[in-house]
């Protein structure tokens, strides 16, 4: 296991609250990210993920609670603190009519870097993002995955200690997603701390720790394996051979069933622990085959948010 316990957090949120008109975007959010750690913040649209990022990046003041980056208030921190924070919003604006190289040089000047410093950073960032062959290509002409990697390279120019990534893999294909994640693991191996939001549950499962945010506060938090081990229900996968009864109709709304989801030709059912036998007998009665499978992160997410929303 990776040990983070002893080092002071690079990022801390304590009781953050933030209201927009009638909407409580954050309702007492607390979390911390340690050096060398990838912390995944997952939650439904509108759960407060982006607001949390913006407060921690020092772009917005909370109504209550405190945000700390490297132990300091990100809103008041001096220039040195600002350059310790790398923030990549969902829609990172690169200059579309500038080349990869020109974008990097432009952002380097914005960060007041010397020429020597720029040359050193440029070389390393192009190498780790594998953008070297494309330095002359206009940003507009890059594929979605490459555009995101260039945006990431720009936010890494000033050697931040903390990286805030808001859905960096949104709309990125599986191959580029893998490359991006390999890159994140390389960055945390150098003791950077990363806070990332994602709608991909397989990515959430790869973080060192995950927090599930719902209506502005954490419902649960921990290493993915521990969260899965604490999952209170059973998951069964149902296959209905031709001629079998409609399994979905049978289990939908059953008092022992927590959630159901079609997965390809199969049906995935989250069922209360003591209801498994009842349900399996019921399914066998219509000729459907059921087998117990390991819970996935998606099961965890859907079950937690669904039970929270029940009146």
């Amino acid at each position: 296991m990776i040990q983070h316990g002893d080092s002071a957090p690079v990022l801390e949120a304590e009781g953050l609250e933030r209201r927009f008109g009638a909407v409580n975007a954050l309702r007492g959010l607390s979390l911390s990210v340690r050096p060398g750690e990838i912390y995944g913040l997952v939650g439904a649209d509108g759960a407060g993920k982006t607001t949390a990022m913006r407060v921690l990046a020092g772009l917005m003041a909370p109504d209550a609670g405190t945000a700390r980056v490297m132990g300091e208030d990100p809103l008041r921190g001096a220039g040195a603190l600002r350059s310790a924070i790398g923030y990549m919003p969902q829609h990172y604006s690169l200059y579309g009519d500038l080349s990869v190289e020109e974008n990097l040089r432009f952002f380097s000047r914005m960060f007041c870097q010397s020429r020597a410093e720029y040359r050193e950073r440029r070389e390393r960032l192009l190498r780790i993002t594998r953008l070297e062959p494309f330095t002359g290509r206009r940003a507009d002409a890059l594929s979605g995955g490459m555009y995101k990697k260039l945006a990431l390279a720009c936010s890494l120019l000033p050697r931040p200690r903390v990286l805030l990534l808001d859905e960096p893999t949104n709309g990125v294909d599986p191959v580029s997603r893998r490359e991006l994640w390999a890159l994140l693991f390389e960055l945390v191996s150098e003791q950077m701390g990363i806070l990332i939001t994602t709608a991909y549950m397989d990515e959430a499962a790869r973080c060192h720790r995950v927090g599930l945010i719902h209506h502005g506060r954490l419902l649960m938090e921990g290493p993915p394996a521990e969260l899965l081990a604490r999952f209170p229900h059973r998951v069964i996968e149902v296959e209905s051979p031709p001629g079998a009864g409609d399994a979905e109709q049978l289990v939908e709304g059953h008092p022992q069933v927590v959630t159901t989801a079609a997965a390809g030709r199969r049906l995935r059912v989250v069922v209360r622990r003591d209801g498994q036998d009842v349900l399996e007998r019921l399914l066998a009665g219509v000729g459907a085959q059921a087998r117990q499978v390991a819970p996935s992160f998606e099961d965890l997410f859907l079950t937690a948010t669904a039970s929270e929303d029940k009146p």
Binding site: P174, A199, A205, E298
Partner: protein, 311 residues
């Protein structure tokens, strides 16, 4: 069954860049057809040609029996298109957006009012009809965009990454709607980067660098493109298990998969028990090895890798 979409050697060039390269396929009425590929592989360009928005540079395409190059406006009337960045008027109410788009399709009066009721029921947004579009979370906006694309009862729906960045619960609801539309006879042509969603498609075309390199059912693709036996490996030291697996004789491939790893074996040289024994000999503890079925993500990565080596 007669195909409702048919392309032959369909090609689109931009200058000397070939975005779509001699692509031929057919889609049957009522089919959910998945069109997958990396960013920049030519998916959106294909859709834009099929929707009559972009003239082909070569080859031909027929949609509902109409040649897209000869009569693009007739093609447009018979289909619905939801683009990656679907446009809704955020400062209009939900029903005002539908009135506006209905008018754009030439609908009006009692017919339009009836269709608005029907599509709102279809996408389960009846309770939000007087809501301001800006106030809707992303998942509901996406359903509203789907409603507006189906107002004129198109027989074919083109959905270009409709669920990018949408949370798992909302994605699930969206796919339930897609399946309902398909069951009602609507043909659905959809692109996605979520490989679990691709499982819902009856057939899948896989694009690499503008070429259609594979076309089959999800099961057919798995049989054809992921030879060998996939094992899911998990435990507290997945990273080391991955590294170690890659050095073993008989391991074809090893990739992270959520919190676990997928290791592909050549069964003639190494079985699951052999893999477990080798990992334990390498000093790994509490490691689990389970034979499992390949996922579409395994297919995607295998095909991209093969094609990448070829070009």
């Amino acid at each position: 069954m007669s195909p409702v979409i048919r392309t032959r050697e369909l090609t689109r060039r931009f200058g000397d860049f070939v975005a779509v390269d001699r692509v031929s396929f057919e889609v049957e009425r009522g089919e959910i057809f998945g069109y997958l590929g990396a960013n920049g592989a030519g998916k959106t360009t294909t859709i834009r040609m099929l929707c009559g928005l972009l003239p082909p540079s070569g080859g031909e395409a027929e949609v509902n029996g109409v040649d897209v190059a000869r009569d693009p406006s007739a093609v447009k009337r018979s289909l619905g298109y939801m683009s990656q960045r679907f446009s809704l008027y955020l400062d209009l109410l939900v029903e005002e957006n539908l009135e506006f788009f209905g008018g754009a399709y030439g609908l009006g009066g009692a017919h339009l009012r009836r269709r608005i009721d029907e599509v709102l029921e279809l996408v389960e947004l009846g309770h939000e009809r007087r809501a301001l579009t800006r106030a809707l979370p992303g998942g509901l906006r996406q359903r509203l965009a789907l409603a507006s694309a189906t107002l004129h009862e198109p027989s074919i729906l083109f959905l270009d990454e409709p669920t990018a960045g949408v949370d798992p619960g909302a994605r699930r609801v969206f796919w339930r709607l897609i399946r309902a539309l398909s069951a009602g006879g609507t043909t659905v042509f959809v692109t996605t980067h979520y490989m679990d969603e691709a499982e819902f498609c009856q057939r899948i075309g896989l694009m690499v660098d503008g070429r259609l390199v594979a076309l089959d059912t999800p099961d057919g693709l798995k049989r054809e493109h992921v030879p060998g036996q996939i094992c899911e490996v998990d435990g507290p030291q997945v990273h080391r298990a991955l590294e170690l697996s890659r050095t073993l004789e008989g391991v074809l491939d090893a990739q992270p998969f959520g919190a676990a790893a997928h290791v592909r074996l050549d069964p003639a040289r190494l079985g699951p028990e052999g893999l477990l024994a080798a990992l334990e000999r390498g000093g790994l503890q509490q490691i689990n090895v389970r034979p499992t079925e390949p996922s579409l993500e395994d297919v995607f990565l295998a095909v991209i890798e093969t094609e990448g080596r070829r070009s």
